[in-house]
Symmetry: C2
Subunit: 257 residues, 2 copies
DNA sequence: CGTTCTGAAGTGGTCTGACCATACGTGGAC
DNA sequence: GTCCACGTATGGTCAGACCACTTCAGAACG
């Protein structure tokens, strides 16, 4: 024992800040969109240095709970819930996620989401969907623009599902796939068919036919997945490459930094 | 114009660090478990201050891409992929996620996961599941321990699904619910029934009966959700409370910090 | 010889205080 | 009245010092 343990300090400063703000959020003192005090002032209140406070704020910002605007202040996130933007993209690189796995996740979640949307969607959702479907038909010659409305349509469906958690998950996956799709959509030849599938999905949802909505959404995404895979040049063998590189990690890595 | 813009500085330092490390991960220079250079050294390499480097590392750590060990170093995450641990918990507080929404997400994803596990699971997975089921029957009198094996069983199922993305998502949701469940499991009276349902799920998966696995998993989770809701005292009205507080945000908030 | 303690070295964590960069509002110049 | 410049508030970065945790080699002890 002994070792005095002068450090009663609750825990790390970072977590002190995170927990403090978390508590303020949980008890309703801080609401989405609210501004927290200026760093210098806030740091003084918590009896920590400005640097430590910033670390904590940064942690929350990384997770999308807060957003910081240079010269203005730090705010509690107010938009739709979303996981750290780059998170999935980074994890993808880190764990070697495959494109088909992301599509599979989409299929699993979005087909169910379509079912829920059919059960719970309101007129407002229906109108927004119809709007996007129309836009899709109107931009059959502009792939990039088409893709935007495609993404929006799916987002509306997920919002209509009434489950913000699944919506956030899907948004994360979608945005990670977006960049990829933007490259392949240029070669897409079946946008008209795609647009018609969206229209059918919309009709099923509006008709509150959950089973049909699930089925159509699944078919639509499976088609999209297959189309994507055709464009994607084989990227297998990554496993091998990684193992081979694993050998030279200790020293050479340092030069590369 | 003019304004000289002395700041060619790529972008924010934080993103410089994040992108640098991301690049190293993406091109295979950095692999899971690898250590990055000491802060002082690394900062010098990137021509930024140690503080800025730390901000970037912190950002990656918050998203679970890196983990930092005091007195040892910073490493690329090597465990199973996972989103920022506290992320969902914080978002839950922030956006008022309801318990039923988390369960719904579980039902949607895990039932499909059970189906995939039935199609793709191998003997190793089957053995691990059997093990956990046995443990569950062996801890019917120890709720807390039972819950551990419950969680482990579901984790194995998700791993057997072969989709790391959905696995990561479920892990995040599960861990957010864990704390909650730990409180209510003590009052649980139907652990034996629960254990038997797990056994049935296991059998369906081992028999490669995907449809049955999905159905059983769904039923199991719906039961769990209902049981949970019975324990949960009504927490509605939170909407009202929040709105009421919204009024007094500008000034009073500052005192509270 | 083996075990245990000690202390130094390496590395992340925090603090301080200064200065840079951005956003915004206000007041003066036109 | 309109527009621009400057001041102020606030976040971003930097530098260097010092604190705290880990580890490990070597001394002290049995």
């Amino acid at each position: 024992m002994a070792r005095t343990q002068l450090v009663d300090r609750d825990t790390q400063r970072t977590m002190l800040v995170v927990n403090h703000i978390r508590a303020l959020i949980e008890d309703g003192t801080l609401l989405p969109g609210d501004k927290v005090p200026p760093e210098r002032e806030f740091a003084r209140m918590l009896n920590i240095s400005r640097a430590s406070l910033r670390t904590g704020i940064g942690y929350l910002a990384a997770m999308g709970v807060m957003k910081v605007r240079h010269g203005v202040g730090a705010f509690v996130a107010d938009g739709p819930p979303e996981f750290g933007k780059a998170s999935l993209s980074l994890m993808s690189a880190l764990h070697g996620f495959q494109s088909w796995q992301m599509f599979e996740a989409r299929i699993v979640i979005e087909s169910q989401l379509a079912g829920l949307a059919a059960e719970r969607g309101n007129d407002e959702h229906h109108a927004a969907m119809a709007e996007e479907v129309a836009e899709m038909f109107g931009s059959l010659n502009a792939p990039a623009e088409y893709l935007v409305h495609d993404v929006l349509f799916h987002r509306i469906v997920s919002q209509a599902s009434g489950n913000p958690i699944l919506t956030a998950v899907i948004d994360t996956i979608t945005s990670a796939l977006y960049e990829n799709r933007l490259q392949t959509v240029e070669y897409s030849t079946d946008m008209r068919e795609s647009a018609e599938m969206h229209r059918e999905i919309y009709r099923a949802i509006r008709a509150r036919n959950a089973q049909e909505a699930r089925k159509l959404m699944r078919e639509h995404l499976e088609l999209a997945r297959n189309a994507q895979q055709l464009e994607q040049h084989d990227e297998q063998g990554s496993e091998k490459a990684l193992s081979a590189r694993k050998i030279a990690v200790t020293a050479p890595v340092l030069r590369a930094f």
